[in-house]
Symmetry: C2
Subunit: 351 residues, 2 copies
Amino acid sequence: MAKRILPENLIKFCVEIFVKAGLSTDDACTVADVLVMTDTWGTFSHGTVAILNYVQAIKSGSIDPAGKPRLAGEGPSWAVIDANAGMGMPACCMAMNLAIEKARKQTFAWAGVRNSSHFGAAGYYANMAVKHDMIGIAMSNADPNMVVPGARGHVIGNNPIAYAVPAGKEQPIFLDIALSAVAAGKIFAAKALGHEIPATWITDADGLPTSDPTNWPATGSMTPMAGHKGYGIALLIEVLAGALTGAGILSEVKSWKLHPGEKAYLGQSFLVINPAAILPLDDFKQHIDSAIQELHNAPKAKGSDRIYVPGELEWERREDALRNGIPLPELSFTALYQAGEELGVDTRLLD
Amino acid sequence: MAKRILPENLIKFCVEIFVKAGLSTDDACTVADVLVMTDTWGTFSHGTVAILNYVQAIKSGSIDPAGKPRLAGEGPSWAVIDANAGMGMPACCMAMNLAIEKARKQTFAWAGVRNSSHFGAAGYYANMAVKHDMIGIAMSNADPNMVVPGARGHVIGNNPIAYAVPAGKEQPIFLDIALSAVAAGKIFAAKALGHEIPATWITDADGLPTSDPTNWPATGSMTPMAGHKGYGIALLIEVLAGALTGAGILSEVKSWKLHPGEKAYLGQSFLVINPAAILPLDDFKQHIDSAIQELHNAPKAKGSDRIYVPGELEWERREDALRNGIPLPELSFTALYQAGEELGVDTRLLD
């Protein structure tokens, strides 16, 4: 059985790490909340396992731990935040809160972030809107890590997108995906074990399909989900999170691993919709509930006893994590202990 | 060499057909423009080939040819149109025009359509915004024709989404996709020829993958692109085009083929963004141009001599069609001649 850790202890530990790394206590609390919420969903790839990446990006100068987000422009239904190369989470929470506030009056509101860094899991921000009975859509571009049809190498990011929709009696609908055919973590795992992978996951140095992950990601690149469709949606996110905010796009976005010391110039994009301004909120929520129930009650495939609505698994895992602790994988614990040692933070909270 | 027809002749013919079918001349012109524009892009599956489907839906009572779209609600940055079960195109053009007008003042604006019918190709509406230097995003739900993970049969529509982004010297970026792994037309074509298909396109009566299209679509169903990711995005479109507009969602949406005579209760959703309100328009357009050029200039895969940006192929085909006529496939001509005969419209315009 996996070792479990209480969310409040994990948050405390992460706050201490980020304060030691140079963040204000407020910013450290925001970052810790994003990462630990993500772990409670079981989305471990985007939770505290990345703590060392953030710390190293701060050390290398890619992220300015004291960089404070600043309102760079706004109108009644939009805002652009300059993250000043600080951590992505405080700037993105500020953006999402602004968009929620504006959507209350304007029904549709948008906030973008430029000069930003990695924001953790997109789903965190989408769900901020749901607490206010609004629909949230969150997007970010990413440093190029994906090929496009006809090309070889890293051309575009596997730009993440998440959305969350308030329901009535049911849990919110909630999806958080990246646009590569599979998550990089799966390819790293196969590579570490010396396994072959399906020939649809990556291309080789020539840009051709390969089942051999040995040389990835040095040469070759991840493929977009659904080919030209995933490529096209990734490009839309470059436009909305990059071009529209004045952030970097495509190769202007730098990787904290490949370009240590360089600012990321990432961009994020948050759209908030207030359904209560358009139709009675209860009607809307009941319609969402009935859609969820229709999906649950659809005829099952042979061998299947359940149909999941997006987010359902995450809410179940979160309920379990809040009650029994988060079953963090060993990889996460290893990163956390190492971060504690590097920054001189007492690791007993992790035991 | 394919027989070609001049766009203006095809428009004239389609207008006559739809007027005979009971539409006002204005509405007939709108419908013809949508279908013929789509044919000029080479997206023949959503162009005039469907003319008989529309005519039959009018005859069966699914579509009211005299149904006039009506503004059902609005705010400074949003509007909802009731299509009154008329043709989808006039209602959707009205919605998109309203959203463009509102985005000019509000930067972000949205218009939805409920009680609607098939709207043709989503890309038509997205591109309406580009003419005003704005970004357009168009979505529609569809009658259930796709399975979801764990289920069997038709559970959700392969809901289309399109976007278009203005560029500077380059052509607008423009993507129009449906969320099934492949277009239904490809499966019908394989079925007609008695060919096997890849086992990733559809499921069988048990909800399991099959390479035999014989019993589809009576039993079995199309699979979502990228599995749970395509399912999740399709559900987002149900929310934005269905629930938010007060249209039908999931099984509330009726098929003109499976439920002749029943109203479709489709919903559409249009988002317009005015970049000029956020940053200097020339800066934005130059950034889009440089992204397009970076994509064009990316290293090519072995055997590839060109990388396409979404929409590039469509604009090239359109330029050729405007100059030399549209190389309509035989299937489209057959449908057009048949519509002419059924409705007593002179088919010499097609010769």
